[in-house]
Amino acid sequence: MPELLVGTKKGLFVLSDEEAGSYRITARAFAGDVVEYAIRDRRTGRYFASVTSGFYGPRLMFTDDPSGEWQQASGIAFADSDDVSLERIWKVKAGQGDGQLWAGTDPAALWESRDGGETWSRNEALWKERIAGDWQPGLGGLALHSICPWPGDPMKLAVAISAAGVWITDDGGESWRTGYTGLVPEYMPEEARADTNVLCVHNMHRAAARPERLFMQFHGGVYRSDDQGESWTDIHEGLPSPFGFPLVTDPADPDSAFLIPMTGAEDRVAPGGTLAVFGTRDGGATWAPQGEGLPNDAYVTILRQAFDRDGEGDAMGLFFGATSGEVFGSTDAGRSWFTVAPRLAPVTSVRVA
């Protein structure tokens, strides 16, 4: 069973199951600070944590031993001449180039490291698009939260922003184009929908086995693209709600996606208190609830980065954490569930190390 990195409102928890099925906390770091997101770069074994102190602001930390000393990465900061300050680091993602990693922040900017994550620089081409486009924030800020490399090709990348839609590059970030076609912002007046760039993407993941395909959880919609994110088809029919944040794809099956629907924007909890993961194995034509072992009367929220997978296919592990502080896991692609941790702090992210 894999090691889990659980970011919470009260620090990072590393969970391991030295006895099968019985997880325990093997490390805690950044006590008292919000750990927005944490990953381990499997190429190098290096751990990264996006940490936001309520007092001292946001920063990216890294280490080779999560129970040891962490170092602060440099470069993810805006200049004095910019009209903004760094609010939060939403995402860190391994790239396809040697030593390459990507990071996404609020305010929405894409950052690149080419030295394994120690130093970073801003992607200026996308930053210029932000300024020219007068991007608008969602409730959670103006967040670049989804980064989707193209397996085997470091030149291709798609990112998603709340609330500035999908941006695609084929030249390693030298130039960008939008992927807006087909997205329906029902939170806008009908007459304003066609021309708006206020497109509130909540999550986006690529189907690794068919890289031109991406799945998206939108603010009131679930979409699939079969053309690199250029255009989108709504596939939410069959779900209890088109609203939600978490999304996972199966790297072995490009027709598969898993998400956790929540009631609409005003409530943002499991519909009717019935906590369930919904999965599709046919590209979104049908969806099936998978909740055996998950609690009822569970009016909890699962945040954007708090859902991840391990492995692939029918034995794929799925893990998610709730704002109630519970973490749940499945080792059979969601057919049955068990409690990994019952009482952590409110969970902001879950990643399999």
């Binding site: 409102k9 009260k10 919000v34 102190s53 309520g54 007092f55 001292y56 900061a77 004095d80 300050s85």
Partner: protein, 87 residues
């Protein structure tokens, strides 16, 4: 020379030093010199624009001040987390 007093975690980022004598004509000058001497403190007290972070308080001789406040050699600065921060 003004003396800057730090508590954890800032003290730890400044090599474990609780009290540091740092020259400077303003609060901002002193804190930027602190960052230069102890780079791990960079961005913790001052934001990207050189202002004291919203949830950090800097006191000069017991009075709350901002980065533009002028200092004399006898001044004592204390850097403390604000009661408005945290989660």
């Amino acid at each position: 020379m003004p003396v800057v007093t730090l508590r954890a975690p800032l003290k730890d980022l400044a090599g474990g030093n609780r009290d540091l004598e740092i020259a400077g004509g303003t609060v901002g000058d002193v804190l930027r010199t602190l960052e230069a001497a102890w780079p791990k403190t960079t961005g913790w007290i001052l934001d990207e624009h050189g202002a004291v972070r919203r949830h950090v308080n800097v006191f000069r001789n017991g009075e709350r001040v901002d980065a533009t406040t002028a200092l004399t050699a006898d001044d004592r600065l204390q850097v403390l987390p604000s009661i408005t921060g945290g989660t």
